[in-house]
């Protein structure tokens, strides 16, 4: 006798329970009786079994052994970083201030995103600071950069005055007023010269002729070397801002970055990378446009450059003195994205070294605390991932060299 469809319907649950070993003796008896008379349900059970067996036979690619040996270390490092050490100010921390504590689910993605943002923010900072932003914070007043202002203060800080006005006010203030400012609040910067552009100031006028020399100027003032505002101005250096202004500028920049992040959160990763690149290009001009890495592994390594899926970045040597900030930022950006998306790529060791070299050169050029902190953290992160003792030592040496610019 062929069972009715209604009988088959009622037996379906027994088929599933049978597959899961959850059938009692009464259920087994009913199922067996039904199957003996129903080819359709017998076939169905066989097909389910085939699917289950096929499913269990599906293997997964095994990561290399070093993945497992470094896994827990990376977790612990992130836990310690998140709850222990208090890193110096960074765009990521500023962003966190605007969004509240980052949601745990997004922490890893946010970590990489914040690095990319740091790159952009750094570029914007370098691009926009001409004549106003100092290359180093006023340490003796604010301690460390991270203590410039709490997030809430940064948010509440008044909008920074137009840079030109600030510069004009500084110029017009008599020396007496400048003296009222603590020495640490007096920071100087070569006027109207972007560090991303080659200096054109004639040396005969006392102007610093390279970004490195420029970066040292405020330190000399802070070190009490009688670098009065008037003297600074006569040397081609313009007294620019107080630490309060700096906090306001940081707040403004942080909001800019926060707005970018907010829009990125609504996008796919590929879209937000594209968006960041566009934002960078708009701010920096076509010459700084960032070719994008879409996915996959390094397609070729040439003698002087790396081809990373649609974009070519130059090979960076730590001894290279010709690389501009824009180029170095681009190198960092591309490699970081590549490594993030292809954590098991065998070429990543090369990428770690390239990032370390680029951060070293960038730190040397800018002496910027945010750059130093970010580079130091990232190179340590990469060093923790590698087992090769020589590569690990190379990276840790690079980290030490990056940190050597701290406070200089």
């Amino acid at each position: 006798m062929i069972p009715k469809r209604d009988d088959c319907k009622s037996i379906e649950e027994l088929i599933h329970l049978s597959l899961d070993g959850r059938l009692d003796s009464e259920g087994k008896r009913r199922l067996e009786k039904h199957l003996a008379a129903c080819a359709r349900c017998t076939e169905k059970l066989e097909r389910f079994r085939a699917i289950e067996a096929g499913t269990r036979s599906i293997g997964l690619d095994e990561p290399p052994p070093e993945y497992w040996t470094t896994f827990s270390g990376r977790v612990i490092e992130k836990i310690e970083t998140g709850t222990g050490r208090k890193p110096a100010w960074s765009p990521a921390r500023a962003i966190a201030g605007f969004f509240g504590a980052p949601r745990p689910r997004l922490r890893l993605a946010a970590g990489v995103a914040s690095l990319a943002i740091a790159v952009i923010a750094g570029a914007l900072y370098l691009h926009n600071r001409g004549g106003v932003m100092p290359p180093m914070p006023a340490r003796d007043e604010v301690g460390t950069v991270s203590q410039v202002a709490p997030t809430a203060e940064r948010e509440a800080a008044p909008t920074v005055e137009p840079k030109t006005e600030a510069a004009e006010q500084s110029k017009s203030k008599p020396a007496a007023q400048s003296k009222a400012e603590p020495p640490s609040a007096v920071v100087a910067e070569r006027a109207a010269t972007s560090p991303l552009e080659p200096s054109t100031a004639p040396a005969g006028e006392g102007a610093q002729t390279d970004a490195l020399a420029s970066a040292k100027a405020p330190e000399e003032a802070l070190a009490g070397k009688e670098q009065t505002p008037a003297a600074a101005e006569s040397a081609g250096i313009v007294v620019a801002e107080t630490s309060r202004d700096r906090a306001a500028v940081i707040a403004e920049r942080s909001k800019e970055v926060a707005a970018i992040v907010d829009s990125m959160k609504r996008m796919t990763e590929a879209q937000h990378v594209s968006n960041m690149a566009n934002a960078f290009s708009e701010k920096k001009g076509a010459d700084a446009a960032m070719p994008l890495i879409k996915s996959g592994s390094v397609s070729a390594i040439r003698e002087e450059s790396y081809v990373l899926y649609g974009g070519t970045v130059p090979r960076v040597s730590a001894a290279d003195t010709s690389m501009t900030e824009a180029v170095l930022l681009n190198v960092i950006h591309q490699w970081v994205l590549h490594i993030k998306r292809n954590p098991l790529d065998p070429e990543n060791g090369e990428g770690y070294v390239q990032v370390a070299n680029a951060y070293y050169l960038l730190a040397r050029l800018t002496r910027d605390e945010a750059v130093i902190s970010q580079g130091s953290w990232l190179v340590q992160e990469y060093a923790d991932r590698v087992d090769d003792p020589e590569l690990k030592k190379l990276l840790l040496d690079s980290k030490a060299r990056i940190e050597s610019f701290r406070g200089k």
């Binding site: 096929g54 499913t55 590929a270």
Partner: protein
């Protein structure tokens, strides 16, 4: 950490003891828990996401969140189902946000292995086995995340209904209905493919 300390936090310690220490903020104990469960968590995420970078993100995130929440873990509970619950939540959120990472269904091309395999207990006994596995894998990937989660925990992790319910925070009745429906859907998809290629 010296040798004695390493022994102290060796893999011989039970979960309960390590958890108790981790709840007091002992990172070495938590590190031992991570090493004990890292493969399970990673592979669960990989089963769900089919992307190493995404699985790595989710696995790391799972442990970081587990550490933050370990104070709320009740002694005597099943630690790995608790971890799986975090991992599954992260994976489902990831799938929700990053839909593009899920591989496209591969149905519509190739041969018809299931038809030939249907009479066998193990379809991988013949040459078409690998192809069958690929088809099944694609079908599993195309399940909606809720069904996929239940199916993965049952088929790959071989969890009981109760463990799946605990890992996903749903009732055993819901587990059963989703699991049965997932199987039906898989069969429909594979049958549909068979029909198209006949």
């Amino acid at each position: 950490m010296n040798r004695a300390e390493e022994r102290e936090f060796s893999m011989d310690w039970g979960d309960d003891e390590l958890i108790r220490k981790a709840q007091k903020g002992d990172l070495r104990a938590f590190d031992a828990l991570v090493r004990r469960y890292q493969r399970k968590v990673y592979y669960l995420a990989l089963r769900m996401l089919k992307n190493h970078a995404a699985a790595d993100d989710v696995a790391q995130d799972t442990f970081m969140n587990a550490y933050r929440a370990i104070g709320t873990f009740k002694p005597g509970s099943n630690f790995y189902t608790w971890l799986y619950r975090i991992c599954m939540n992260r994976s489902l959120n990831y799938l929700e946000k990053e839909k593009h990472i899920v591989p496209e269904s591969a149905f519509g091309e190739g041969s018809s292995p299931l038809e030939r395999a249907s009479a066998k207990a193990n379809p991988l006994d013949d040459v078409a086995g690998a192809e069958t596995a690929r088809r099944i894998e694609s079908a599993v990937d195309s399940l909606s995340p809720a069904y996929k989660a239940v199916f993965v925990l049952r088929a790959y992790e071989e969890m009981s209904y109760e463990e799946i319910a605990e890992s996903l925070g749903i009732s055993t009745g819901t587990v059963m209905s989703r699991l049965f429906r997932a199987r039906e859907k898989l069969q429909e998809m594979l049958s549909s493919y068979d029909t198209e290629t006949r």
